[in-house]
Amino acid sequence: MVGIALNTLLMIVVAIAIPGVINRTRATLAGRKGLPFVQHLRNARLLLRKGSVYSTTTTALFRIVPAVYLGAAIVAMLFMPVADLYPLISFEGDVICFAYTLALARVAIILAAMDTGSSFEGMGAAREALYGALIEPALMIGFATLAMFCGYTSFADIFAHEQSFNAQITIVMFLIAYLFITIAFVESGRVPVDDPRTHLELTMIHEVMCLDYSGIDMGMIHIAGWLKTACFSMIAANAIAATCCFHWWLAAPLAILLTGLSIGFVESTQARNKLVRNTTFIVTISALAALIFFIGYLLQSDINI
């Protein structure tokens, strides 16, 4: 019981810490003083205390979506174990449930964006739908690789039964970690796929869908975004922790630093993709996932090469 509570608490801490680490990394690399570590929390608190303004063209759908979006992200988070701790919800096949809970969130926000009738948001929705569809194979093949290796289809079981120190597993687990960090870039709308700081609606993907949200709704969408990033980051951290030291006190800081530092570093030193190149970028992630699957398969079946 204490384990489950600690697990949930750690997930929340990871979710809160990642944006802070990203901001600090960016500020340090830019040679700036930068935002305080907890600035995003203050912003969120401010948003949550405010009411919302609704466009007259929107319907009830638009109003319930932030709740659905945040709810789906919270449920997804509850599937996620922190290394040796046990998550609140866990059952056979929960990896699929996890993926489609997040897909539900995506569908909800796309519908809300279409509901506003704004030409900007329609463009954003089209982009999100395309990239969401393209990233899904990567996610599924990633989960398939994990499931193939250990014969379980629940996050808690996969990682709990995968601790081993043999070289084959280490190779695949590191590749899996890399894959999920890359997926985290796409899912959380970060450079090089999307730019969360831009003010240019025409180039936005995720942000443009939330243009009509304000106050508490906006706050909920931000928080849901943190939780999503934390989930993918935790999968990567678990995969690495499984190869050396499978304990929550390693996995949690690892999850924060892996994603926080890599997103911060990429955002400081690299430009965004041209929008049409995002498709190639994301399909490449799926190709990488397929490659990892085959490497895993070959290693597991002990083929003598």
């Binding site: 960016r26 690399l29 830019a30 040679g31 700036r32 030409s119 900007f120 329609g122 463009m123 089209a126 450079v191 090089p192 730019d195 700081r197 831009t198 003010h199 240019l200 609606e201 025409l202 180039t203 955002e267 400081s268 030193t269 690299q270 430009a271 965004r272 993709n273 041209k274 929008l275 049409v276 190149r277």
Partner: protein
């Protein structure tokens, strides 16, 4: 003789020396002449003259360094359509549109006679921004995206209407006029020349030095005063402004593609550049520095040393940024082959300044019609790029910054401060004369024209900011591009809204 021939350094021209020709003769001449790359029209406007409407045309000959003036008249209420030159040479579209908007002069077979800037004294009061006739394309798979007039950032207002097929832009139409302040008529409403100077500085805040220089030199031409060593100081101010704005735009382009290192480095360098201007004259944008017939802020020795050190440091650090940009594949992938304006197209629509030079059209007043220190101390070689894409425009900026830094160093290394006159706001202006001044601002060619009446007061003041021509180049650049690349195309031109709207 159709033209009175003069140059950019000569004194004001008496109105009676400008030939008053038949429109047909002028039309036939321009029809042929403008096909040649060496000619382009710097200004073409109408102004009421008693019961008549008098049209002036200023034609530039780039290879002979000459300026050709011509004029023609028609009755104010004459109901006759002039054959349109825009139909043959689209470069003239802003001029003909302005004439129609202000005086209801019809141009026969004019292909695009839309309102230009909705001035307060427009003839047709029913034509408003709310009913701007946007071009539309119908189709099942097409959609329209409207951006503006209220801008998401903190820049100026303008309405951009995109017709898109999915992510691809088929057509962009830019409707401006929201910033119209009546700048041109303000010049004629006051005879206080200090006030006029301030108005000139406010035409486009990012080109304060260039516009003030254009104003000051047209006044100096009208009162016949020579500025001597001040020409060098003005050139330094102009080049500092060019450096600051080009560096700022390099940073802005980096920001738009989310390249943080380039952005922060350029922001710091831009601050250093404008602070250098501030240390010189007390204002970061050089306001207060340029005054007619003299200056309140002459350059003393210690400031010369300060400017030289700062400029050398900026040049060194900016060079590092350029190397970074050129060696970063993710940036090259964004900038290259994006927003292309081919040379022929740039030529056709009459692009000017650095945008035109990036497309291979060599339009540069500093070399074609030299003024100030460009005529005496510097032999300016324009930087010309051929590709016409965002990268070309960025590289033109980069190289112009380095070039400007070299010019400043070259001028200051031999410059010995001497006694420089204080501004003179009361000199008598030549009566019934026309003075024009051409200045290469950082965006491109700025043209101011002042016409005096019998009393020697300014009766007509006409301003042309390079943005007037180049907005169309932006619309051409984004055709066929992804709509998400519009911001970097826009930033690569960085045109002025208020400079266009006046």
């Amino acid at each position: 003789m159709i033209y009175h021939i003069t140059d950019n350094e000569a004194a004001a021209v008496a109105l009676k020396d400008i030939p008053e020709v038949d429109y047909a003769a002028l039309y036939n001449d321009l029809k042929e002449r403008l096909q040649d790359e060496r000619y382009h029209v710097a200004h073409y406007f109408a102004t009421p003259d008693g019961t008549r409407l008098k049209f002036y045309l200023i034609l530039l000959d780039d290879s002979e360094h000459k300026v050709m003036l011509s004029s023609f008249v028609m009755e104010y209420y004459e109901d006759v359509a002039l054959p349109s030159l825009t139909a043959l040479h689209p470069a003239l579209h802003p001029f003909e549109r302005e004439i129609t908007e202000l005086y209801n002069v019809e141009f026969d077979s004019m292909p695009w006679n839309k309102p230009l800037r909705f001035p307060f004294n427009r003839r047709n009061r029913n034509s408003t921004m709310d009913n701007y006739p946007f071009y539309t394309i119908e189709g099942e798979s097409l959609h329209e995206v409207n951006v503006g007039p209220i801008h998401a950032g903190i820049i100026e207002p303008g309405a951009f209407r995109f017709v898109c097929n999915g992510e691809n832009v088929l057509h962009l139409e830019i409707a401006l006029g929201y910033q119209h302040r009546g700048s041109e008529s303000e010049f004629t409403l006051t005879t206080n020349r200090l006030r006029q100077t301030l108005l000139a500085e406010g035409i486009a805040g990012d080109s304060a030095v260039s516009h003030a220089t254009a104003y000051a030199s047209s006044i100096e031409k009208l009162c016949g005063c020579s500025i001597g060593a001040l020409a060098i100081e003005r050139t330094i101010a102009l080049e500092l402004e060019r450096m600051a704005m080009h560096i700022a735009d390099t940073g802005a382009l980096s920001m738009d593609v989310a390249y943080q290192l380039g952005q922060v480095a350029c922001e710091a360098l831009r601050t250093m550049t404008i602070n250098t201007t501030q240390a010189w004259c007390g204002n970061r944008f050089g306001k207060g520095l340029i005054r007619p017939c003299g200056t309140n802020k002459p350059l003393p020795h210690e400031k010369i040393a300060m400017i030289r050190t700062n400029v050398a440091e900026i040049r060194r650090r900016y060079n590092e940024v350029i190397e970074d940009i050129k060696s970063s594949p993710s940036l090259l992938a964004r900038f290259e082959q994006c927003g292309i304006v081919p040379k022929a197209e740039m030529q056709r629509i009459g692009g000017v300044g650095m945008a035109a030079r990036s497309s291979g059209v060599k339009r540069d007043i500093r070399s074609s019609h030299p003024y100030a220190a460009y005529a005496s101390h510097i032999k300016h070689e324009s930087i010309v790029k051929q590709h016409g894409d965002v990268m070309s425009r960025l590289m033109t900026r980069c190289r112009e910054v380095l070039q400007s830094a070299d010019y400043i160093e070259q001028l200051l290394s031999t410059y010995a401060p001497s006694e420089i006159a204080r501004p003179n706001y009361d000199a008598t202006l030549t009566a019934e004369a026309l003075a024009f001044s051409l200045v290469e601002g950082w965006r491109g060619e700025i043209c101011h024209v002042a016409i005096t009446n019998k009393q020697g007061e300014i009766a007509t003041y006409k301003i042309k900011d390079p943005s007037l021509h180049n907005w169309l180049a932006l619309a051409i650049a984004v055709r066929g591009e992804g709509i998400s690349d519009f911001p970097i195309c826009n930033k690569s031109f960085n045109l002025s809204y208020c400079g266009h709207d006046l």
